[in-house]
């Protein structure tokens, strides 16, 4: 008994050390990402601007190379498939080159940042695992554990998408920033010493419910960042189209820059820096689609999460739905995402309006997590704060 208790405390201690180490490495990754953005160059502007102002490209040929057909030697050239997007709109704008732009130095920093993120993720995962071992249950019995696991899964989703060769490196900086904030909050405000669960939390439905909530939330986060960047990039492309940004824009010209006062110049500089960053992002169309796909993929899982929670509530409290604040906000989040999905299928609502709905929906998710736990308590008062 005593011996077991001692190992537990040891493991809990190791877990804490690992989480702090992960934070340190995330911080380094954060700095490397900053360097990537700062040293990355802004060469894509010309390309994007040309695409927008010139007649839009109509078709793209996709050549898919297949592996050997048999015997393992001959490599067949697969037939060319020409794809075309609907005419009009800005669907044909090419994606930006990524945070590093075309700068090799920037790219190097980007690669360092990703390597550091992988290392930090390993430490982070180790921290979560040892925590789980120290309490001998799933590591999400209180807000501290939930936050740590949540951050880990968000990085995991990102790394998986990277490994699947999705064009997602642009997500690195916002992601690492968020995870640092999340972990910082976890270790400072939410920290709860490792311990067992109260009887109401003993249920495999909890296991299912919370793990789904974490995976949903982490993925929805990725979707929300993509949606947010879509809004920014869309504005930027709009300005490019009007000639207000890009190489020919008035504020880009030196005479304009020196004419006005210091503050204005600072504003212009900030605007230029912002444009430089935006020009390196994927195109608005790509970001929009990416965000939608993530949200749409996660929606069934989120639906399941709520239902699993209802089943658990039924077993624990005798009613599957009781309008407890946590339940209310899960429901609001769910309806908001349904709203977003509808907006995507409704003429006059897709695009920016749908994107605002998507952000509103994610804000509901975040509020459900932090806001509800801090403000209302309710029956889900497992926060341990």
């Amino acid at each position: 008994m005593n011996l077991a208790a001692a190992t537990n405390e040891n493991l809990a201690h190791i877990s804490n050390v690992l989480i702090y180490s992960a934070m340190a490495v995330y911080t380094l990754a954060f700095l490397a990402h900053i360097a990537e953005w700062v040293f990355g160059s802004r060469s894509a502007v010309g390309r994007t601007a040309a695409a927008i102002t010139a007649t839009p490209r109509q078709a793209v040929t996709v050549t898919v190379k297949s592996g050997s057909a048999g015997g393992g030697t001959a490599v067949l050239e697969r037939p060319k498939v020409i794809t075309r997007t609907a005419p009009g709109g800005r669907d044909d704008v090419p994606d930006g080159p990524g945070a590093a732009g075309t700068s090799e130095q920037g790219d190097l920093y980007g690669r360092i940042a990703i390597s550091l993120t992988v290392l930090a993720f390993a430490l982070h995962a180790g921290g979560v695992l040892t925590r789980a071992l120290s309490v001998q249950r799933a590591p999400w019995g209180n807000m501290y554990e939930f936050s740590c696991t949540f951050g880990m899964v968000a990085v995991g989703v990102y790394l998986c998408l990277l490994a699947a060769r999705k064009n997602i490196r642009w997500l690195g900086l916002p992601l690492v920033t968020t995870v640092l904030l999340d972990l910082g909050l976890a270790v400072s405000v939410l920290y709860t010493a490792s311990d067992q669960l109260v009887p109401a939390l003993h249920s495999y439905w909890l296991w299912i419910h919370v793990s789904c909530a974490i995976i949903s939330g982490a993925s929805l986060y990725v979707g929300a960042v993509s949606t947010l960047f879509y809004l920014l990039r869309d504005r930027y492309e709009e300005r490019l189209a009007k000639g207000e940004a890009g190489p020919d824009a008035p504020e880009g010209k030196p005479e304009q820059q020196s004419a006005d006062g210091g503050w204005l110049r600072l504003g212009v500089k900030a605007q230029l820096a912002m444009d430089s960053a935006l020009s390196r992002l994927p195109s608005a169309g790509t970001l929009d689609k990416f965000g939608y796909r993530i949200n749409a993929t996660v929606f069934p899982l989120w639906t399941f999460t709520i239902i699993a929670g209802a089943i658990w509530a039924e077993a624990a409290w005798g009613r599957y739905w009781g309008w407890d604040p946590k339940e209310v906000w899960s429901f609001i989040t769910w309806v908001a995402y349904a709203c977003y999905l509808h907006a995507r299928a409704t003429a006059g609502w897709k695009g920016r309006k749908a994107a605002y709905l998507g952000l509103f929906a994610f804000a509901c998710y975040v509020f459900n997590y932090y806001g509800v736990n801090f403000l209302f308590g309710g029956k889900h008062s497992y926060s341990g704060v």
Binding site: A5, T55, R57, Q58, A59, V60, T61, T63, R78, P79, V81, I82, T83, R84, T85, A86, G88, D91, K166, N167, I168, A193, D195, Q196, V198, P199, A200, T286, K289, F290, R293, I294, A296, T297, P300, I307, A310, I311, W312, A315, G318, R319, Y320, W321, G322, W323, D324, I332, V335, C339, L341, H342, R344, A345, T346, A347, G348, C364, V372, F376
Partner: protein
């Protein structure tokens, strides 16, 4: 861009390539004179006819609006906003005590809030209005879409459009193979990939992914199932609490409940017959560490009897593990201790004997003890009711100097009591709580010195002597447990609806509806021109991929011959801007 809105200019020119979805098209409102056209004839009849036309026209317009995607969207948004106040303002159905506290703290706001039904948002008129409108809209949406879907299922895939190269995905090559052969092979290939195919003149059409629409309809129908199940659960539900001391029992009739709530259509006859006895109760607590005293396990061992059957069944009820009898669920809710005492009156007769269920005051189960003994005579034999109040402490640590329990388990139990005599006020007709002693008509006993109040710490086996000759003997301690007994019809359908909703929405979001056409015609030079085109319900990386697969498979039987630039009637080549790239990675995902 999804092709849902074929009203926008982006739809392909050919009618055959139109809507792949049954989503409603946006309606525009009535316009022009006489709202819906038609002339108004002179005279009363004319006016009447016109009015009728006008009214039905507007009704129809209103109905179309209500069942349009845009209004559904707005209603959904309204629903999410209308749900918010219920989480910010305490709700009677969730915690009525909190509501009363809130009302005390905000007396100025209370009347307005009550008018707005903000203390029961989820049964308020305005909240109901939003979701009822939404569900009417939903039904109005599902019915026509179902018919449309049945129509789509029965129709054949539409013919190949004239210009396949205008489709979102397109491939072409020349081959020596026979056109018929190519088409036959393409038909087989498509069938093999479970496309529904339709041969045409010099072409084959295929369509796949009908399950998407089916999934979408299943999802929306199951939302209705869920709502109906939830509503019927609310109307017919009943729920009551009961405190049972170890050794005692409960039989399921209305009078046995300590408190009882039910839906508006519930009748007591709906209560199933059963009874159960609490044989024993076990609790364990964290013994060390910062969470010392936190409960770890609760288990109530019970014996129950179903209906009129006399065979006893034994089982254990735990916190997440209710006992289910005939659709009623018995949940373990809480527990505490009941000191067992024997009170003798001044004449030495037993005036009370048994357990005194006491309510916990804190998480270490310090309990408030109240005992009323109405049938009591003093030394002289005169009627004199007595009442005891005090604390029961499962773990009393006298060194701490506090009368609060230090731990929830029975480590060193003690009871501190003081006693009153006079009138308990029980025959005043006003119902009394057994957990409260009304001392307004009573006098507290004092110690023999006559000044300080009588109060005594009792351990099990000890006795308290009253100045009027009575005694209270602390016999022992029994645990008690509280149970919630609830019957809720509609749980089964709700679960079925929920499962159907998940499957439906997954189908709707992950399955891609698409069409493929293959055309093979003999060119002037004798070779065969093969053309392939694909159209997806939304722009998906999957459609070109699939088309490429198909083309590759087809090319094994119809190998391409190098293009002869001199041939004049080559199929129209794509626009000059065409560009050869690797497939763009970023555009895959959910639609895949």
């Amino acid at each position: 861009m999804a092709k849902t809105d074929s009203s926008s200019g982006s739809a392909p020119e050919d009618a055959s390539a139109d809507r792949l979805s049954t989503a409603p098209v946006e309606e525009t409102g009535p316009s022009g004179a006489g709202s819906f056209g038609g002339v108004r004839r002179p005279g009363l009849l004319g006016a009447l006819g016109w009015g009728l036309r006008e009214a039905t026209g507007w009704l129809r317009w209103f109905w179309r609006q209500l069942t349009s995607m845009r209004v559904a969207l707005i209603l959904l948004l309204l629903l999410s906003l209308a749900t918010i106040p219920g989480s910010l303002i305490p709700q009677t159905s969730v915690d009525s005590v909190k509501v009363d506290d809130w009302k005390k703290g905000h007396q100025a706001l209370t009347p307005a809030f009550e008018k707005l039904q903000l203390f029961h948002v989820y049964s308020s008129v305005w909240f109901s209005a939003v979701y009822i409108l939404l569900f009417i809209s939903l039904i109005g949406c599902i019915v026509p879409r179902t018919w449309q879907f049945v129509g789509q299922l029965r129709s054949r895939p539409p013919r190949a459009p004239r210009r396949l190269d205008r489709m979102p995905a397109y491939a072409t090559w020349r081959t020596e193979a026979d056109p018929e052969q190519v088409l036959a092979r393409a038909g087989r290939l498509l069938k093999g990939k479970r496309f529904r195919t339709e041969p045409g003149e010099g072409s084959v059409a295929g369509e796949k992914g009908y399950l998407r629409e089916a999934g979408n309809l299943v999802f929306h129908v199951s939302l209705i199932v869920l709502l109906v199940a939830f509503a019927s659960g609310q109307l017919w539900k009943s729920e009551g609490g009961k405190l049972i001391v170890q050794g005692d029992g409960f039989s399921n009739t209305l009078t046995q409940y300590d408190d009882f709530k039910s839906g508006s259509l519930f009748t007591p006859a709906d209560l199933p017959r059963f009874s159960f006895f609490l044989d024993d109760f076990e609790a364990t607590y964290e013994v060390t560490g910062p969470q010392r005293g936190t409960p770890r396990t609760y288990a109530a061992h019970v014996t129950y009897y179903k209906g009129t059957d006399n065979t006893p069944h034994k089982t254990t009820i735990k916190v997440n593990d209710p006992l289910v009898i005939d659709g009623s669920k018995i949940y373990l809710q809480g527990h505490g201790y009941a000191p067992v005492v024997t009170v003798k009156d001044g004449k030495g007769n037993v005036a009370y004997q048994g357990a005194v269920a006491s309510l916990p005051l804190d998480s270490n189960i310090t309990e408030n003890v109240v005992l009323k003994v109405p049938d009591f005579r003093d030394k002289e034999g005169a009627k004199d009711q007595v009442g005891f109040t005090g604390l029961f402490i499962p773990t009393l640590d006298e060194r701490t100097g506090t009368m609060l329990s230090q731990f929830p388990d029975l480590v060193s139990p003690g009871m501190v009591l003081t006693a009153f005599h006079g009138s308990l006020g029980m025959d005043s007709g006003v119902p009394q709580s057994v957990y409260k002693l009304d001392v307004s008509k009573m006098k507290q006993f004092t110690k023999p010195d006559g000044k300080s109040k009588l109060s005594q710490l009792l351990r099990v086996g000890q006795t308290m002597n009253l100045p009027n000759g009575g005694t209270l003997h602390f016999d022992g301690i029994k645990p008690w447990a509280t149970f919630q007994i609830s019957q809720k019809p509609g749980d089964g359908p709700a679960l079925a609806g929920a499962v159907a909703a998940i499957l439906g929405v997954a189908g709707s979001l992950f399955i891609q509806r698409r069409r493929v056409w293959v055309r093979a015609v003999r060119a002037a030079d004798g070779s065969t021109v093969v053309e392939l085109a694909g159209l997806g319900r939304s722009e998906s990386a999957k459609v070109p991929e699939e088309l490429a697969d198909l083309a590759a498979a087809l090319q094994t039987d119809a190998p391409p011959v190098p293009d002869d630039p001199s041939t004049s009637d080559a199929p129209p080549t794509p626009d000059e801007g065409a560009d050869t790239t690797e497939p763009s990675e970023s555009s895959e995902g959910a639609r895949a």
